[in-house]
Symmetry: none
Subunit: 405 residues, 2 copies
């Protein structure tokens, strides 16, 4: 049976950059492998959610995997917790969390607490607290990051963030976002937990030590992006494809895990510009012997875009190009696209459609010879939506069920 | 913040005309400015409502402004009344009206009463009549045109036209279009008003004078296009854009006013082929210092099409081209399109999609070098719907809200 490698380069699409002779970073990059695939494949433009909608990375990945975010998106938190390796249960409320440093007036000095090397001591000190019959789990992430999970009866994700998203302010009191009892219960318990965490963290010897060393203490947890965990249909059941995920960022691993994909750890894969790209694509090639569908996520294209670093983005695309060449004779369908455009000029996500390319067995080739925003606009796939992708791929595998007789 | 000029040329799209070497009037026109914008912009085709749907100018403009006509279209009459400058109240029923000439057997001699130079005397004679607790306002338009507004309790727009749309027939009795009491009350009051108006107008000295001069009298009002006025969300609130409208035709001013756009009057702007095109576009340029969104409507392209005058349409497009050149370095996004196609051969609206072009900051250019139905068909925008336009523009301004995180 045919197999698929889906490569999502985060924030891949862009707008013309003056300093690049009005080309986008992708258009300006030297990318013989991607061009080779485009020349031997079919191309088009993809609106991940819809025309004019700038997607977050969570909703866009759901859509790309064929899961309508209107139906299956319950907030960012659960994906972060899953991506960090936590086993969520139906009804759990999860948040993205940061360890931060606050002063004696409760003003935030550093939203990232000086980016500690690891946060396990801090996590351990507050993990498992029980308040008002709610158990709080804290799941360590990279550096200052952690997911916070609330487990209890009748909890609600309709609560606000404690993270003010800016330094110099105090953490916000979490508020219920509707009048339901469950939202009030949730915010009450959460506020107590956040307060108690501050008390515990403040008295931690490790923080005294950090202060002695001139480092910001990790004496506060900030939470944002509340979401409720609900089980969603497994990718394997939906498509009858055994699937694996190769990603660095916890969000992408989390989305993949929520669909039941196997998370494959690769040495040196970090979700940063220094990630082990070669290892990622080599692993993807190897996984094709065991899996039908391999999802490869590359994060740094988005990071460069948010930093406005169009040259960095261009050069990183050239690195992807070099690493992806290993998939040239894989025999599988290769899909390359992004989850959303991120403009180096605006430094944020936009609704501009993404170039998309599919090469491999059975694909009707078109006349497009390079992989770029401009070239793919005249591709034979035309304009598709994110939700169209999986049905198109299942069709290419020859596995589409007949509609009618 | 980025700004937008939206130019809608009414009935712009067309079909191949044999006498133009099978080109459309737009394809045949010499139009260096429009081609310049297309070359430096992104192009596509727009189905204002949907594929295969031939839109009226009212529904099409709503859609272009991002207001689904299924939700926000309540009939043509209110837009005409608003466009004529009348202050409608929620629940008012409005009609398009014509002063017509009828004979003693109540047969219509001239649906336009010989196109009087102005109709203020006739309007004055019947404005403000009160029948069955309904007040009738008559709003003067150009020449034979007037809007009729009914104000009272529990009125319905579900009533038929009195205008038979043909000469030689008698005005029709207005009928309720459903069994609701309000439709019956409305049609009863309206019929009485129309009868009383005939009585008043017939005995008017000005009409005796017209007859003496061999002109058809303006002794009857014909109404059509009943609509109820309901407030719809303001353009400024929906998009956070301060908006202005430069248009000659009352319908277009009416649609713009219903959305809260500022109506800017320009000397010599008439909604006809003799309109002050240069003044329109110069004004649009000036308005960019005060407004974020400037809507420019050009009517005559549609008028020529309804007359089957393809040469006139072609030459008028060349005039638009010349006048629009003033927007070349405006720094704003420039959008040029139409509201629907009107075929010079069929002399009526068609569902053929419209060429559309957006040029300006942040736009991903494509390989299309001229602005025409044929060229824009291979543009990078692909096929869009009218309702897609505003989200695409808000995205280009970098103001799109994120869906997800």
């Amino acid at each position: 049976m045919g197999k698929i490698v889906l490569v999502v380069c985060d924030g891949l699409g862009d707008r013309p950059v003056k300093a690049l002779n009005n080309k986008t970073p992708l258009e300006a990059a030297r990318k013989p492998s991607l061009d080779y695939f485009a020349k031997n494949g079919i191309t088009g433009l993809m609106h991940t959610i819809n025309r004019g909608v700038a997607p977050g990375s969570d909703t866009s990945h759901l859509a790309i995997f064929g899961y309508d975010p209107e139906k299956y998106y319950f907030g960012r938190g659960p994906f972060e917790a899953l991506g960090a390796g936590f086993e969520l249960k139906e009804g759990d409320i999860a948040f993205r969390g940061n360890f931060a440093a606050i002063d004696s007036h409760k003003q935030i000095l550093d939203r990232r607490a000086g980016r500690p090397e690891n946060n396990e001591t801090f996590v351990k000190a507050i993990n498992g607290l029980k308040i008002n019959n709610v158990t709080f789990f804290v799941v360590p992430g990279v550096s200052h990051r952690a997911a916070v999970v609330m487990r209890g009866k009748n909890l609600s994700s309709e609560v606000s963030d404690s993270d003010p998203h800016r330094e110099g302010l105090s953490p916000l009191t979490v508020k219920p976002l509707n009048k339901n009892k469950s939202a009030t219960l949730t915010s009450n318990a959460l506020n107590k937990f956040l307060e108690k965490s501050r008390d515990i963290l403040t008295t931690l010897p490790e923080n005294a030590q950090r202060i002695k060393e001139g480092k910001p203490p990790a004496n506060c947890v900030l939470v944002r992006g509340a979401g409720i965990f609900k089980k969603i249909p497994l990718f394997s059941e939906r498509y009858n494809l055994k699937s694996a995920c190769v990603a660095g960022g916890s969000l992408y691993k989390g989305v993949a895990r929520s669909l039941g994909m196997e998370i494959i750890d690769v040495v040196g894969v970090t979700g940063t510009a220094e990630t082990n790209l070669a290892g990622k694509f080599k692993t993807a090639l190897q996984l094709l012997s065991t899996y039908d569908f391999v999802f490869v996520h590359v994060k740094a294209t988005d990071v460069f875009s948010h930093d406005g670093d169009y040259l960095g983005k261009m050069k990183f695309i050239e690195k992807i190009d070099s690493a992806i060449s290993v998939l040239k004779n894989s025999g599988a369908l290769l899909v390359v696209t992004g989850d959303h455009s991120t403009s180096c000029e605006l430094k944020e996500h936009t609704a501009d459609p993404l170039p998309i390319m599919i090469s491999g067995p059975g694909v009707r080739m078109d006349d497009v010879k390079t992989f770029s925003e401009r070239a793919c606009a005249s591709g034979a796939m035309g304009h598709i939506k994110g939700l169209d992708l999986m049905p198109e791929l299942i069709n290419l595998l020859g596995k589409t069920e007949l509609y009618g007789e």
